[in-house]
Structures are given as C-alpha cells and as structure tokens.
Symmetry: D2
Subunit: 151 residues, 4 copies
Amino acid sequence: MNRDASQSPQRPPTPKSVLQVGTEIRVRYCECDPMNVAHHSVYPIWFEMGRTELLRASGRTYREFEEAGIFLAVVSLSIKYKRPAKYDDLLTLITRLRDVGHVKIEHTYELRRGDDVLATGESTLACLDREGRARPLPELLRAGIGGRAAS
Amino acid sequence: MNRDASQSPQRPPTPKSVLQVGTEIRVRYCECDPMNVAHHSVYPIWFEMGRTELLRASGRTYREFEEAGIFLAVVSLSIKYKRPAKYDDLLTLITRLRDVGHVKIEHTYELRRGDDVLATGESTLACLDREGRARPLPELLRAGIGGRAAS
Amino acid sequence: MNRDASQSPQRPPTPKSVLQVGTEIRVRYCECDPMNVAHHSVYPIWFEMGRTELLRASGRTYREFEEAGIFLAVVSLSIKYKRPAKYDDLLTLITRLRDVGHVKIEHTYELRRGDDVLATGESTLACLDREGRARPLPELLRAGIGGRAAS
Amino acid sequence: MNRDASQSPQRPPTPKSVLQVGTEIRVRYCECDPMNVAHHSVYPIWFEMGRTELLRASGRTYREFEEAGIFLAVVSLSIKYKRPAKYDDLLTLITRLRDVGHVKIEHTYELRRGDDVLATGESTLACLDREGRARPLPELLRAGIGGRAAS
C-alpha cells in the first residue's frame, strides 16, 4: 500500500528502484455514471495516481520533476475493462514499471477488488522539456525508477 | 458537423446507416492541466460524445436506448496521443463505425485541429441489459448504426 | 482521520452520532489547471467525499441508502476560495454536520493544508425518493447522523 | 447563442461591452451520476464556459489574457439547484456581468431547459498575475467586458 511511502516524514536519502506499488482507491460518487458504475474515463486518472505513488515509493515526486522543468506526457494508453467498479468500492491498483528507454517509460496496471481483476492497462510516457519537446529521461529518473528494469 | 443532426426539430422517420460523423469540440479550461494542454483522460469523454452524435445522426439517441433498458459499456479502449490540444482550441472529432457484431460494436476516432491530427483511438463496446449481462444488440440498433458496415 | 472508520472490518452495531470528521485528500494531477492549482470545480467533489466519510464514521454508508431507495441531492452550495491548493498537496477536509431538518441536511466544510485554511463552504441536501420527489429523512438517518445536532 | 461569436473568422476590431450571453450546453453522459442527473460539480464548469463565451462575444478571449500573464481566479461561488438536468438535455446558460471593480469581477448565471430554470448561481473572480498576486484588472479588460456595467 502507498501509505508509508506517501506520508513518511523523512524521505529516503537516495532514490531506490521500486518496480511495483499498490495504491488504494475509494470510488467517488461523481466518478460513477447512470449505469451505476465507475465511468471508463476515470481509469486513466487512477493509473496516473498509481504512477505518482510508484515514483514517491522510489524516493522522488513527480511534482519535483515538474518544478525542475521535466515533464512526462502520455503518448499511448490502452485499457481492458473486465468487470465494473461501483461507488464506494475500495479498490487496489497495482502499478508496474515495465520498461525505461532513452526518452520513454512504459507502465502496466492491474485494478483489483479483492481477488477480482476489474481492469488491466498499459501506457507509454515520453519525457518533455518546458517547451514540450522530447528530451532524454534524466539519469536521476532512470536510476530512480528504472535502474533494475533496464538490466 | 453535428449541428443539423443534433438540433433538427423533426427526427428522420426511419433510422438510416451513418458510418461517420464529425463533432466540433471546444476545449474547456478545466480539461487542461498544469502542462497547459488537455489532460489525456478527457479524450475518452470526447470519444463518447462522438458516439452519441453518430447515433443521433442515424435518427436514434443513446438516451432512448437506456430508457428501453439497453446499455452500451466500453470493454476496451486505446488511444495514441500525437500532439497536444490547448485550452479554447476548436477541434473536430471524426467518429467512425468500424464493425458491428452480435454483441459488440467497434469505433475508431480521429481528433483534428485544422489539418493536424492530434490523436487517434479505437474502442469496443458491449451491449448489456439492466442487470449488466451481455445481450445481443437489438436489430433496430444494428440496422440503424451498422447495417452497411456489416456488408 | 477517516482511516479507521473506512476500513474497519466490523461495523459498529448501532449508528452513533458523529458531528465532524477529518478526511485526508491528496490533490490529483488532473484536478489541477493551467494556473497550476486545483480547479475550483473539484472542491464540491471533495466536499462530497467528506459527507461520505462523515456518514461512514456514523456506522452507515451512503451506498446503503441508495440501495434502499433513499437519495440525498445537493440543493444549494457555496464556497469561498482563500488560498490555492497545488498538485500532490496532502490536504485535510473537516466536514461538519450543521443541521438536520425534516427533509434537509446542512453541512459546513473547512479545507486545510497544515494550519492554513484554503477554503470554506456550506451545502444543503434534500432527501429524495427513487422518482426524485422530496421525502422525509428516515428516522434511522436522522438518528445516525444528526440526533445530537437536533437537540 | 454563442455560435456566431465563437466562430466568426474575423474578430471585431475593438472590444465592445457585452453584458449577457447565452451558451448552449449538451449534457454529457459522464457528467451524470447514479441518480441519472448531471452531478452538481459540473455546474461550475458550465459557468466557466459561459464566462469564456461572454468574453469572446466582447471581442477578446481568456486565452489571450493568460498568454499576457493576466489570470482570473474564482474567489467565491454559490449555486442553487432547482431541477435536475439529464443526460443529452440541450440547455441554455445565461451568463451576465453584474459588476466590475478594481480587482474583482462578479457574474450571475441562469441555467435553463426551455422555459424551466434548472439552476442559478453567482461568482466573484479576482485578477492575479503570474505569481498569483492580486493585481488591478487591466483597462482593456474593464473596457471590454465592463465599461457599461460600471456606469
């Protein structure tokens, strides 16, 4: 779970490779539609929360990256919806780092309610500078979130 | 454009096959994120608007289907993001019907700003009853939105 | 905080009066706009989360109410925005029950980041049946969330 | 309606005072909740669209203001919800400029479906610079959107 990582008063002194993190998600009322289930457009938002927590678990935050002028933009996304999520469900999202390249990062996602897998997904992000141009992922980021994945 | 179709006071007497529709989309401020571009989670919402207008152009509305206990749920979705959309951009979304099966419908999407293609996507929807169980697409729906696609 | 209440495996045997609850909220990336702060339309969503947790802390869930055909609809809302919230901020929302009438419930809200008050708000909800008609708040609900407030 | 204003290929050469504008809004599926009505958090988004079109009708765009480092932030908002809006409803939002001060602008809103008033609202915005500090509304803006209101 993301609790300890997200609220630890002291941050780890050096980034470490974390390849997978679980994040608890409580389904909000406004996220549900007239079919009485979470709308499919909410899943990309949850996946983004998963990436945020994966990075935090590595000892960094995405907020720090943006403050330093390093942006990660989604360039592709795909999702398979298997079972609906309902209002007030307490879900677990497993976010995994699949690959880190020169400019791009790939993640996969598994959304669960207990033992049931509700959805799976994958995304590719590209690293951009303040002007929106592709730039190499900084060494720090590559070490922090992907050192082991690259080996 | 979807204007005439969406606001025609008299509805066509019989459904007709419409395989493609263009919908104008004005990017809302709240749809944009700190990178100053439309957030990637908004594109599935726009695609859903495109499907709504494609059905309306065929002489039916999705609202009527739900009132009759016929639901269409997204079971898979994929998107490629090529160029960012910005606040207040006036975009055109091309929504195409690709295939209509026994239970499922496939659409493709192309989001444009002028001649630039900003994103492409595809989705598969399944037909469900009020209890969320798969059910055959009604003949009416298949004739209305897909008769020609199946040939 | 809402942790214990929301995840307690055993629910309290009888509803109890809880007049105030604190809920932790992590600001999501997609909730922030090009001004780099949480968009003002997100605050009503957070307030709704606060009401959900206040009810849960009383031993009930809003989901149970809806399943029993009891709906609570917002009829008025006002918010004062004092300082911006930023992406990844960890906020605390204090939700208080102000009054419970025959048909309506009033809440107040205070959103904080540490000692700073970022926003305050208040809302009135009306109790509706499945057809959207006003109906008296059930005794159970009045006892559960407002017994003490009415005295 | 906002059609002509929003799509006019040639912009008026000088800003003019426009004190009221009507904007058509089609209720999106994802904007509706399990009660089968538009969620109350969507109304502030629609109000913002109304402000965007009011400014456009005056010969300016909010996008230009932000590009010039002039930001308008909501500092207070209140809404009364009278009747629900449903999926696919075609609504008309009347946005009115109520007052323009040294730093703040006040608007009022009326959301209609045909002759029915679904909701009313009001908001106050403050003018900020890039650093988020209050600054006087530029003369240009005051002339463009509020010259007549101040008289």
